[in-house]
Symmetry: C2
Subunit: 168 residues, 2 copies
Amino acid sequence: MTLSMYQASVPRLVAILENLSAILDKAQAHIDARKVDVAVLMGARLALDMYPFSKQVQIACDKARSVVARLAGMEVPRYGDYERTLADLQARIARTVAFVRSVPPERIDGTEDKEVVLPVAGHETRYTGLQLLLGHSMPNVYFHVTTAYNILRHNGVAIGKRDFLGQP
Amino acid sequence: MTLSMYQASVPRLVAILENLSAILDKAQAHIDARKVDVAVLMGARLALDMYPFSKQVQIACDKARSVVARLAGMEVPRYGDYERTLADLQARIARTVAFVRSVPPERIDGTEDKEVVLPVAGHETRYTGLQLLLGHSMPNVYFHVTTAYNILRHNGVAIGKRDFLGQP
């Protein structure tokens, strides 16, 4: 028995993004019922100097597809940040999930010690594949999905931790 | 090259809990400078029906030690929820880190397919070790640490995502 880099990445990223998608459905129902302008939700923040809701979802997608592409030695697909509605964000999540799922296990497995160099806060930072996945990218994705969730909870959307966790 | 259950658990749990501890130091400096009653921070919430700051930190610790104990086939150490100050929470984090670190790799490695039965929302839920770790416990720990972080950010504590991520 061993755990593979693929098992620790692709199925987990797909799961949390699908949970985020289901949370966005509940957010849509919430604003529809209250006739809230979606722009208000897209721009909602927990602090003036934090990213708004829309950006939290965008970054969660970006971190998910970039780690998979980098481990697999592929070009990271570039997505512009054009989303203005929850439907737009749902499309970005769906596109991200499709990309992540498209990468075969053999491109990811065995990348534990692969060197990946990333610009972090303007400096080149060297990671092993394992450090990148478990010490940078997975925490980052969970961070942004949780922050998106917290913005919704702060604004009264009826969701709970089960929505975040989904099925194990 | 393979990834082990130990690598995917103990060092990652220790890292995020140590990052949380450093964040709590910044929160302490923030309330000291403003002469804020620590009870106000301990009870701060993002929504009326969400757990307060103190409980977010408590649960992060609980999820970390319980997954390690369960994978290792050990009794989960019980901690009462007595913390009233940030120093108390720091002690809980330190105790959790010490316990997590005390479990040797050979007790954790090879538990990918081990069956673990947990009560979730009143129902017995069966997990494999891998599902428990990657699909339940790690997301749970990141969820509660991020929520503690978001409560602090919402209240003006000067922290950033680098504090959450720490070193990879």
